[in-house]
């Protein structure tokens, strides 16, 4: 079990990193900053369901660190970190509730990732006008959350047999 866990974590961290790179290559431009597909969250959700919260959280943090070191700068790291932590906490509790499937958990993760980023950006730039982006970013979080959640459910269903 231990070897399997290590192999799985390594594999999924690499996968999350590649997903982030793909998003970096094809930016979605809707005239509002922060709109993303959130592909990397796919790896985090699958890890959350298959190996547990501690490992999934570690995966998310390692991914953010790697991506920020490779493509970003310190401020990008702060935003990602805030988004990543808030989104993870919300997904963790949403999963515990048993009221949602992977799709609902993923939607909440997507929306709160954006909320976390906006909060940090508002603190750094000291402008409340960023709140204007919230409804658009919430909308984009819902749409991408549904897509990622459905994909995650398919992956989890198939990988469950190995675990």
């Amino acid at each position: 079990m231990k070897t399997k866990r290590i192999a799985f974590l390594g594999l999924f961290t690499a996968l999350a990193f590649v997903f982030s790179y793909i998003e970096f290559l094809i930016p979605i431009n809707l005239g509002v900053p922060g709109v993303k597909l959130g592909l990397a969250n796919l790896a985090v959700i699958v890890a959350l369901y298959l190996i547990g919260p501690v490992d999934a959280f570690a995966l998310s943090m390692v991914r953010i660190l790697l991506v920020s070191l490779t493509f970003g700068n310190f401020s990008a790291f702060m935003y990602s970190l805030a988004g990543g932590i808030l989104s993870f906490l919300v997904m963790f509790f949403a999963k515990k509730l048993k009221f949602f499937s992977e799709t609902g958990v993923s939607v909440l993760g997507g929306v709160f990732h954006n909320v976390g980023q906006i909060i940090v950006a508002m603190i750094i730039v000291e402008t409340e006008s960023l709140l204007y982006y919230l409804p658009v970013l919430a909308l984009s979080g819902v749409v991408s959350g549904v897509i990622i959640g459905l994909l995650a459910a398919l992956v989890i269903k198939r990988l469950k047999q190995i675990f």
């Binding site: 509730l97 949602f100 499937s101 939607v107 750094i124 402008t127 006008s129 409804p135 909308l139």
Partner: protein, 132 residues
Amino acid sequence: MEEKNKTIKKGDLYLIGGLLLISIAVWLGVRLYSNITTKDGAVAVVYINSEKVAEYSLGKNASYTFESYNGGSNVLVIEDGYVYVSDASCPDRICVHHRKINKNGQSIVCLPNRFVVKIENGKEAELDGVTK
């Protein structure tokens, strides 16, 4: 038991529906509010690192270059009553890709350069000063 293995649960649908409704309602509300409250004398106000550095009327076409936070630069353009950022030194250039703005409360934010341009009703404040 059946509910447990479903790909989509009832809770998901409530959540998705609720979030869609709320965000669309808030979005429309914000747009409406911006439209209603925009006065003729609306101005573009520039903040760098939370400090107000300039204020321009939307009536005059012009282009201004700003030395922003940490040695960055942003080029602000006012054209036909709209404001946009035409060039910037930041790596993501989100501010450059941002759509043009002209309504009260709308803003373009460049996070790396801590550059904010915001539409405000400048004339209103002036009028208040007169009536006092």
